[in-house]
């Protein structure tokens, strides 16, 4: 009878703490997994949105628009941003950015391996360095949208894609289980996103 008036004993408390610890060990990784998956989905969305915007601007303003993948050196190093460039309205020989750089979410990047991102490995604007306003010399590569809404990519449509991966998978040459693929149709510029 007296025992019902005790508070918890140390043993009881320890047992509860142990259960909570075990549960959180089981649950937390799946949460970080979900968060990482979300970041990849958003990253693919950023790339797809910029490509669609480029197509619209090219058709709407009747001029070529460049889609540039922007390199960042800080961890994880890789192509981590997209920016649209077009010839300046006052001087057609000079290219100027149309918008700010759209960065991919923290911890994600566009793979540069030929297997995962053939569009980057064989990009019509090969990897080069140019002065980016506000950033200084920056490495980039990319492709162009023509005013007709088509791209300057090869006709081989199934091979024009980039893969958004996590920083840890930057060197992967086979599709990691968690990645997002953005495919551009070279003829009509339509964008398709695959999320295996």
């Amino acid at each position: 009878m007296n025992s019902s008036r005790h508070a918890f004993s140390l043993l009881e408390l320890l047992a509860v703490i142990a259960i909570v610890a075990v549960l959180s060990v089981l649950v937390v990784p799946s949460f970080t997994h979900i968060a990482a998956g979300n970041a990849l989905t958003r990253g693919a969305q950023v790339v797809a949105d910029q490509v669609q915007l480029a197509r619209q601007i090219a058709a709407g303003r009747n001029r070529d628009v460049q889609v540039r993948f922007v390199w960042r050196d800080d961890e994880p190093a890789g192509y981590r941003g997209v920016q649209l460039w077009s010839s300046s309205p006052t001087n057609v020989t000079e290219y100027v950015p149309l918008s700010r750089i759209a960065w991919l979410p923290e911890g994600t990047l566009i793979s540069s391996s030929a297997e995962l991102s053939p569009l980057i490995a064989h990009s019509p604007i090969p990897e080069t360095t140019a002065d980016f306003p506000g950033r200084g010399p920056t490495k980039f590569c990319g492709f162009r949208f023509r005013a007709s809404g088509r791209t300057d990519l090869n006709f081989n449509s199934a091979n024009d894609y980039v893969t958004v991966v996590r920083g840890a998978d930057a060197e992967a040459t086979a599709a990691p289980p968690n990645c997002a693929i953005v495919q551009v149709d070279p003829v009509n510029g339509h964008v398709r996103t695959y999320r295996p």
Partner: protein
Amino acid sequence: MPFRLPQFRLPRSKPGLRHAGDLTRGFTLLEVLAAAALLLLILAMTGAVVNSSSNVWRQANAKIETFQKAREVFEVMTGHLAKATLNTYWDYYDANFTAFSSANPAAVSNFDPKYYGRNSDLHFQCGRASKLLPQLPANLQETSTHAVFFVSPTGLAADPSHSGLSGLLSACGYFVAFGDDSAYKPGIVPTPPRHRWRLMEVTEPVEDLKVFSASGSSWFQNAVAQGRVRPVAENVIALIAWPRLPPQDDPDGTRISADYTYDSRTQAAWQGAPPRQPVQAHQLPPNLQVTLVALDEVSAGRLENGDTPPEEITAALAGLFEDVSKYEEDLNTLKTRLADKHIGFRIFSAILSLKESKWTES
């Protein structure tokens, strides 16, 4: 005298008896369990509510996205169609109704012109897809409703050094087909093939344009048979192309074509005295009414049936859109049939004016 803490005595209760003032007592295990159970119950209930509302949101989003895509594609397609060209010219025809420019080179010196008539090296054709496309590539199983093929100045060239020539002609066409996406998706995507009805586009670069060397419809039939087609929108189940005069001249829309077919390379005979060229020969219809029927992804996913087209869709389209005078009736039948199966759909329709058409019936 040593300092003493004031003694504070809690009222004592009898063992086993509970009342509100008893502060020394902890919770009993039963109470804690009951509280935890209640908490879990509340969590489960809120979870269920959140889950179901996120499901509703996802479904609504899937619908909106499919229809957005269909609308966007409809705009692009009608933009291309409106630029269709035939570049019609006047030509001599002999007593056998052979045009001077299509006569056998050996016979040119003996050519005996008898009539004037329209002629064109290009082609515009629309009609039932199953008749226009006798052969499909391996990844497409079936076509539905109509198809339209034309030549348009899109400036499309496979050779990048031709990219500045924006007026280059290319073969264009649209049709609706059922098949899987294995030929179009990146090789590294491990997901199983998706079987859907899709709006397909034929866009041949100028280098592959065979409309000049082929006399009939083989210029687009070969392109399709060899798989030079690309999907532009998923879950489009019907494309209806109706060549007609402007509505004020032709309220019923039957004067150009009664069965939706139109062929600018028609082999129909010249009729009357003096003989007149068939009205469809070598001219573009002035107007084209284009209608797309798109499903939402939720319904399409529910109907998925492997590599055979879903029966519900085949049944809903059976026997429709063969007679232009029944267009409204057929469209209403289709709406009723789809709604009866609880399939979400949307219809896009517009009457395009083909700017290059110089229509004459004389």
